[in-house]
Structure formats: structure tokens, C-alpha cells
Symmetry: D2
Subunit: 337 residues, 4 copies
């Protein structure tokens, strides 16, 4: 249940209103926006009489029941679209943020070359895996802490903010200077990790699990917001289906639905979805057209020699070409790259 406050009610009164509910055993979420300020109740509200609250509180404009299990991420509770800020990058409405870089950080030379080239082409954020979740214990597991150091070096040299995947909550110290911490698809329902990044003071890029529903993705985001971190970026990256020709099936309907149902920004990773290089550019154009807030694309200076996911990585020239194409298209969407 959410109560939308009348305009210009002093915050003190709203906090006191919320406190009253907490005394009665409810959890509360306070959502302050330009469209409205709202207090959302968590708990069994079956016995709450909305009309009575509106009449007696003096500060509530109206109330409504929220049937969805997700509350803090719900656009009904928080009508303003969330803008996640990373340095001077704004992720969310009005922009189409391109995140690029290799699947794995492999060497200083590799990450610096890729970083400078994707920056020159127009990428706003550098991605790179240091701690890598791999199906086989015998596969390359990433450069680990050294990978993070190389990313930080690339950040220093190019000025690009960086995003990298965290695999468990004991790794948080490594991510102190990382700009965005990523939760990978396999960890989307690793709730202790969600709680841990919910306490970090930096944006979280939350990838949809390969067999997770849209609602489950929102519920996982809810864990992060419930732990105190409102800067969550949702990421569609393909779901597992019967179709064998692609690695996963990219679900662009999810982008539209996520943006309808939640105020959080939504980006798409066409590289992992397709698993095939030649699909990345056409899908990226579709991602822009469908209304997403950005893409994350794997780019490598030598895909044929990549230690991970080479088959889906663009080379540097292909990334240049993609960016040229996206730049032509962004104005039609009223977005800046």
C-alpha cells in the first residue's frame, strides 16, 4: 500500500506519519520525487482502511494498494525515473550510455588499448572482468585483484569510469575505487551478495539471471534498495530458451516492461545474449530503438585470441562502426550518447 502525500507537506510530518506505521509493525519506504512524495507500507495491509487514513492524516492526498511484491523499485511508489550518476555520466532517461570493454582484463597492454579506443569511439564507461565466474574450474578465472588494478590504471589514463563484476561479499574491499559494481547473471539471486552491495555507496549494475522472470529481477533489485542503495541499473542479457543457434534469447519486451513497472534505468547486453559477433550491431540498434537507457558491449583488441567470449566480442574497428551508427540514431530517440 502506498500513500501519496499532498504537495508541500513538511518532511517532518511525513517522517512522523511513517513512524506511526512502523510503531504498528509495518515496514515503510519513503520515496521523495519531483512528481510526488510517497510512503509505502510493507506488511499485511489487508486491514488498513485507505479512506480512513486519507481523512484522518491530513497530509495524504490518496492511497492505493500495490499488488506487486516489489515496492521500492515500483514506479507506482516512485514516479520519477531514476538517474544514476557516475562522474559526469548520467544513466537513465535522456541518455543512451554505451559501456564497453573486454570480457576479461587480460593484460595491461590489452586493457589500455581497448580503453583508449572505446573512449575515442564514444563509450562512456569501461567494462572488464577481473573475477570471472566460469563453468569449469579449469578455465581461466580472471586476473582477480590484479585485474582490478589494471582497470584502475585504465581509468586513470582515460578518465573512463569502470564497471566490474563482484562474485561474493568478501570481495568488497577490492571494489572501493571501482565506479559501478556488477552482479552477474548467475548471482542475481545470491541474496547475501545483494544485501552486501546494497550497503555499498556506489551504483550497482544488476544483470537478469538466465532463467529469471522480469518480476524476479525486480525483486532482486528490491533487495538492494531495501538495504539502502537506490542506484541500481537493471540489465537484460538474454534468457535461456530451447533455441540452440544463439547463446541466449534476447528479450527486448523485458526492457519496455521494466521501464513501465520500475523507475530504474535499464540497459542491455547484446553480446552475451547473442553469443555471435555479427548479431551485436543489429541488436544494439534495436536496443536503442526499443527505449533502453544504454548498452554494454564486449570489445576486444584481438577477439580471436581472447581468453573468454571471443566469438561474441567486437573488434575495435567494428566497435567504431557501431558507435558511428548509434550516433546517427540517437537524436531520433531524443537521447545523447
Amino acid at each position: 500500500m502506498v500513500f501519496i502525500m499532498k504537495p508541500n507537506v513538511p518532511e517532518e510530518k511525513i517522517r512522523s506519519f511513517a513512524a506511526g506505521w512502523e510503531e504498528r509493525g509495518f515496514g515503510t519506504i519513503l520515496s521523495v520525487g519531483t512528481e510526488h512524495t510517497a510512503v509505502c507500507l510493507i506488511g499485511n495491509t489487508a486491514a488498513v482502511d485507505i479512506d480512513h487514513v486519507v481523512e484522518t492524516s491530513g497530509i495524504v492526498a490518496y492511497g492505493k494498494r500495490i499488488t506487486e511484491q516489489y515496492k521500492a523499485v515500483n514506479r507506482t511508489v516512485h514516479a520519477d525515473s531514476t538517474i544514476v550518476r557516475v562522474g559526469d555520466v548520467r544513466i537513465g532517461e535522456g541518455t543512451f550510455t554505451v559501456i564497453s570493454g573486454p570480457c576479461s582484463v587480460e593484460s595491461e597492454e590489452q586493457i589500455l588499448e581497448v580503453a583508449s579506443r572505446v573512449k575515442a569511439a564514444g563509450a562512456r564507461i569501461l567494462r572488464g572482468g577481473a573475477f570471472k565466474p566460469r563453468t569449469s574450474p579449469y578455465s581461466f578465472q580472471g586476473l582477480q585483484a590484479d585485474g582490478i588494478k589494471l582497470l584502475l590504471q585504465a581509468k586513470k589514463e582515460t578518465g573512463l569510469p569502470i564497471v566490474s563484476e563482484i562474485m561474493n561479499q568478501t570481495q568488497t574491499p577490492y571494489f572501493e575505487d571501482v565506479d559501478i559494481v556488477q552482479i552477474g547473471a548467475r548471482n542475481m539471486q545470491n541474496y547475501d551478495l545483494l544485501r552486501a552491495v546494497g550497503k555499498m555507496n556506489k551504483p550497482v549494475l544488476l544483470k537478469r539471471g538466465i532463467a529469471s522472470t522480469i518480476e524476479e529481477l525486480l525483486m532482486s533489485a528490491e533487495y538492494i534498495l531495501a538495504a539502502g542503495n537506490k542506484n541500481v541499473i537493471l540489465c537484460e542479457r538474454g534468457i535461456r530458451t530451447f533455441e540452440p543457434m544463439t547463446r541466449n534469447t534476447l528479450d527486448l519486451s523485458a526492457v519496455v516492461l521494466l521501464k513501465q513497472k520500475s523507475h530504474l534505468p535499464v540497459i542491455v547486453d547484446p553480446s552475451h545474449a547473442a553469443g555471435i559477433r555479427s548479431l551485436v550491431a543489429p541488436l544494439a540498434k534495436a536496443v536503442l530503438a526499443v527505449g533502453a537507457d544504454g548498452i554494454m558491449v564486449e570489445t576486444h583488441n584481438n577477439p580471436a585470441a581472447a581468453l573468454c567470449d571471443g566469438a561474441q566480442s567486437l573488434d575495435l574497428d567494428q566497435f567504431d562502426a557501431l558507435m558511428e551508427d548509434l550516433k546517427k540514431r540517437a537524436p531520433l530517440e531524443n537521447k545523447t550518447l
Copy 2:
């Protein structure tokens, strides 16, 4: 195995070359294109020595083994993109053909109003279901033959070519004046029906089954071409996945792959894929951006009262708005609507 002919070889020689293979027990497909003319062998070619054929035939430029089971629809065999012509409408490269109309033809008034409005908005082909495959035997099954008559009347009044679904091979007489005959998703592997439309002298719109792979869709198209009809339009319309929030999951990667692997035009039906009206326009934009050759969109003059699929149908004003938007976007794709 496909043999690409040298340029300017007389057709007679090529036919004689093919006949030689048929005498040896192979099937052959003759593919004549601007890029090249080719003869494709059907059967067990393991023992065929390509180099020997090239050397001795005098007319073969080169040969290669085709690992795919689909031959006639394979771009390796036929390099030119197929353009399907319906009146003055060209479906295929260079155009983005919009097909629209109601899920079911319900009345003269309904189909005439929808037809004139979608034509005015820029649709090039009118769709309308007369024979309706319904999950329940107790649901409205379409107006049947009367539905076809109403479509023909709408065609006469607006000049729009029409497309409608055939449910079994005994219905072919009803479709004599229908411009494009549609095979629905449930019938994609109804092979006797595929053979029957393969003998009709008109284009076939073949929808992907809800749980059919891309390769199976191509194999079903192969049935139609093998029966003699080269005018096949493939249609992606969403696949069945675990995600409950949409009717099906639209698979735009399939569009890219189908166009890479086959020379046939590919259109998309975002209405059935999503099952939700508010998703149709964003998905339609993505369909255009990803490189498809058209869309098929359900439009109704009164969706709330539709006898079928109202929840996913655009109303006439929404269709106008979508067409305005697509018109702005088509030039970026070098396509005409």
C-alpha cells in the same frame, strides 16, 4: 553440395548438367540469380569429388558442401535476396512493408473501417483472420468463408492486397483471390499443408511455431520451395519461454540469423509476441532497426470489443501514431515503407 556455375553458361547446358545428377539418383535444385546460377544436389553426396566435377564439367566455377539441411532457402545456394511481389508491393530488401488489420474479420463495417484507416496511415497489405485456430472449441472460430468474402470486399474498396490464414489443404479454393496465404504458428510443421501451399501460385507467409527453432522454420520453408513455390515470407512472432509477463518472447536475433542464412524476406509480428498493446510500438521500432523487411500488426476499430486478441490490438489512432513514427525512421534504414 552446391555447384556455382561460371558466368554466361547457357541455361541448356546447366539443365543438362543437372539432369546428369538426377540420372545418378540425386535430387537437384536449380537456382538462378543475378549473383550466380547454382545447381544444388539433394542426397548423399559424400562420394562426390568436387574438384573432379569442376575439372570435367567445364561449366562449374566452384563447388562447396552445404552442411545445413535446408538447401533451396539457403543463401549459399541462392545469393540474391528474394523479393516477393504482391501487386505493386515489393516485400524484401529496400522496403519495410507494414501489414495491418484485425485479428479476426468480424463484420463488414469493422473490416471496411479498419482497412480504409490502415491504408490511409500507410499500411500496404490488409490482414484479417477468417478461419481461426482457437484453443477452445467453444470460442469464436472466425467467420470462415464469409470472412474471406468480406476481406475481398475490403480489398476491392481500398485496393489493398490481403493476407489470411489457411488451416488445412481442403480450404485452398477459398483462397483463390486472396493475395497472400498465411500458415499460422500451430501449422508450421503441418507438412501436408506446406506441400499444398507449395503448389499454390501465390506468396506464402510462414509463421514460426511457438516452440520451433530457427532451423526448423527454414526446413518448413524448404517444404514449400521444394513443392515449387519460391515466394515465401518468413515471420518471427515470439517463442514460448518461462516468462509469464508476455504472451511469448519476441526473438529478434532470429531476424538477423534468418536473413544471414536465407535469401527469403523476414517480417515480424510484435502483436502476438507481446500480447500487450503498450509493447507493440516500441517493439515495432526495434523490428525496423534490427533489419527486418516488415511487420504485421493487429489493429482494431474497437479493441475493447474485439472477439479475439483485443488486449494486443492497437486502436486506429495508435496505429496512425505508430506509422508516423516508422515513417521518420525508415530513411535511416534506407527503406521505404
Copy 3:
């Protein structure tokens, strides 16, 4: 909505009660069973007052609303388990009917050898494909009408009733002497074919589509019953999932649910579900234990040379061994083979 009649009401009165509803625009299904006789209404029953009907009719014991779309196949409407009789074979409660034979009829020698051996081992019905739905137009399509003739010859020599797949409604004449007509998975929603077999005077074996829900399977059976044929056997044969190691994923929960929700017998085809010979016997044991009414197993006299599905076919000795095992187990389930 279903009305359960009081005991011993004369049939004439019940027919007259049903006729009254038909006059008011409803469809009706009359279900006569040992547990009760019932009249089920088809149509919008929102305005029907059950209590009023009970009070005024004099013959209705009680009524209830049926939320499911399926009516005639619904156990709520028809409480007695249906027994399908084929010669002296009873398919349904109390028996575990083993149907076996090759995927395709290939030759006289083959079908006669397989038939006599599976009969000797204890199979009660012979299966064999004559009209084969194949993904590729270039694959063996079955012996067609000749295949049916060979099956009839095997029936004559062994006394085994036969089951074979029909692919379209124009083929019904070929099936005149076939004991059970099979609808394959690809045709589960070929509604015109369902209507056609609904008018045939013989049992129908209806296979679940590879991506059809349990409810859709019941709705397809409803088509057959609605057309007048109550002798339908449902067949679970595996569904399409992301798992690549098996051809399909056998869904044994479906067996339990189908038997709870419907009165129709349910058998299982473990051969197509698994697609791997070594899985057939363990799955067959599980099928018996879970409560199914039978299995359909592919057996071939020379699986390595089979024209179709050899990898999943048992050889004759393996089938013998499976039958020995099932015979030991059937008493525990209070079933006769």
C-alpha cells in the same frame, strides 16, 4: 457449470432438462457415468442461479461452476475413469497397456518380425508409422498407404490391434481398418484434424505437442469429444526445454495432473521423450510407478539400420527384458499388463 443429477432420474427427463438449456442458447454436454449423470452447460453462465435451478428442476442434486475451459474431458463433469476398448484390450484404470513397434513401417519382413516378437513379449498393441511427419522434405516420408497395408497384414498375422499416425483429414479412408488413429505432437493443435478424428468411430491417441501446456492438451482432447468421439487416450511424450542432452524432457508430473483433472486414460512415450535407447527402460519403470495407464515404446529388429529414430529404439531382446521387468512390477500397482 455442471449439474449433477439425482440418482435414478429417467433419461428422458434429463434430456428434456438439457434441451431447455439449449433453447436458451447454451451448449450442453450430457455425461452418463456410474458415479453420477451430469449435464454441463457451455456458454456464459454468469447469470445462471444454481440454487434456483436445483430448487425448481426437481431432478438436480447440486450444481457447480467449472472454472476450467475444458468441460467434456473434465473429471468434475464425468467422474468415472474412461476405459478405451480396442478388441479385448482395455486401456485405462486397472491395466498398463504396452504399445510397441517400429517408428516407421519399412518392409513386410521388418513389421512382421517386430510384431510377432513384441506380441510374444507381451505388448498388446502394435505401433508403426506409415505417414511420417519429417522435419526435412528430403527425408524418408514413410511408406504411406503401403505402410498401412503392411500394418494390417501384421495385425492379421498376430491378432494385435494397430495404431498409426494420421497427418491430415483427407487420409481418413486409409485408416478404416486401423484400430487406433494417432494424432502426432506436431498436429496437436491442428483443429480441423481434431474435428475430423472426432467424427471417426474409433479411439484416438492424442500426443502432447512439444511445447503445449497440460491445459492445451486437454483443450485439444475437448475438440475431439465435442465432435462426438469419447474414446481419447492422452499421451505425454516429452516437452521442449533448454536441456540439450535429451531429445525432450519427459514430464511425469503431467501424468498425475492429467489423471486428476480428466477421466481420460493417459499413456507415455518414453522413446521420443528421451531420444536415447538406454533411458527407455528406466523411464518406462517410472511411468508405471507414477500411475500411467500404459506406454508406447519404439522397438526395431535392427535399430542400427532403422530409417527413422534408430537411436531411441530398443532392439527385440531389450524389449523382452523390459517386459519381463514390467511384469514383475505391475502387481504392485494393481495393474495387469
Copy 4:
């Protein structure tokens, strides 16, 4: 690549043989069994000449390439079926181990009552969730450390070994006296957690992820064995499909394949697979018949009031009845309960 040693080769020689490969940069797995002792190489073995090794080593009977990515769990490497021992319980060939208890530990009274009753009925191990992974942050998250304490109390009073789920690697201290540590479906690819339990000196029950392939499950088990823990029990618990009538689709083919491909014991959780109480008993019988080594079944003293998964929990009498039925069936499988 695996090298099978000749019989009676002294262990010292085998270790020296393995050490030689490690010096050349390969990883090695030493597998000692009654059927044979084997040394498996990890790494790129393309250049290794098997015949040369057999000839020159003097101790190798034969070698073969292993195409599967999983090595230590592979039955080709380790032919003997692994028996996992927990107190006097033997999990693996020859037994059918029933694990039962509530989804969540809720109170002393609850867990003690359930424990004593499931023991009396014949369960050999008590399950109970203390740390609960829940889709919503607002749902009951389990009694946490207190839940473990209550389980230990139940263990003390009944003598039943206990199994409970660990959610992250910082929780290992709580599990010191827990007999079997469980990895839940959501954590099947939480590789850091797999490594952590791989270093614990106790059996691990590893559940298949809801959208994980059989091969991925084996690869996750490989992580645990590679970290040093050979006592892994695999658990099939249903996979996510399009079918909405059950919570998940139980995949019994997976049981057969897992036992063919791996030497690890395999149990099944029909409660989570079905999500419906009335399906648990029939599925449990199928699990026994298909050849699994046990089941894990949720039982509650008051399912209607359960804080979690009540709809799929058996009550105590239903569990009694199930055990009676399984006891009758086990001899047919040559298994003891």
C-alpha cells in the same frame, strides 16, 4: 585424457607418474577405485601420444581421451560408484535414502515433532532450512543461526543426521556440526561458495539450478571435487519450463544420465519440482523406480500454517503413508531404505 593403471602398481609409482605430468604443466586427478586406479590429466592434451605413454611408462594399461569437460566426477575416470557416508547412513548404490523435514525450521516444538515422526516413519536424515533464500526481502528469511541450533537439538534427540542450506561462504562456522551442507538451486553456480564447501570436511548436497543443464550440474560438482571434497550428492529438483501448472518440471531422465556419466549418488526433490502436495507421492515412487539413490521430501506438522512452501509439504500422516509404500517397493529395486 585418462590413464588407467595396470593392476597392482605401487602407489608410489603412480604418484611419481602423476608428478611427471604436473612438471610438464598439466593438472592431474588421481582416482583410486576397486575397478581401477586412474590418473586424469587437466589441460591441453592434444599433443600427448597415448600409445607412446602406454609403451614407455610401463605402468599404464591404456589411456583414452575424455571429451567431457568434467573429469573428477566422470565415471570414465572413476568407475566405482561413490558411496557417501553420514554416520551409519550410506548414500549411493544399494540404498534409497529418504531425507525429510520442513522447508524451514520454525520453532523447537515444530522441528522436534517433525523429526521424531519422520524418523519413526523411516527417514534416515532430517532436513530443515535455517538460512532461507527468498525471492522477496520482506518474506521470512529463516531463523538463521537459531534455526541451526534447533536442528542440532533435533539431531541430539532423534539421532538423525541433519542437512541444511548454506547461503554464503562466511556461514561455514555455523555448519560445523551439521552433517551435510546443502547448496541450493540458486547457488549452483556460485563458484566461490562451491570452492568453500569443497574445503569443508563433510558431504555436500548440490541441487541442480532451475535452468541449469545436466552438464553444468556436473561442472559445479567438479568445482567441489577439484577443491578436495569427494563427498558430493547430486540433487535433481525440477527445471523451469513453459508449463505453468507445476512449480517446475521434474526431469527424471537427468537421474539416469547423471548416474551413467558420473559416479556420484543422485537424489531427487519431488516437493520443489512439483510445488503441489498431491504430486509428491506418485513422483517419489517414480524416483525410486527410475534408479535414484534417494529422495528429499518436505514434511510439516501443520502444512496449512507453514511459513514457507506449505502447499507442497506432506503432513505427517501423508509422510507415513508414503514411507509404507516405498518400503514395499524398495526390494524390487534391490535397495534398502
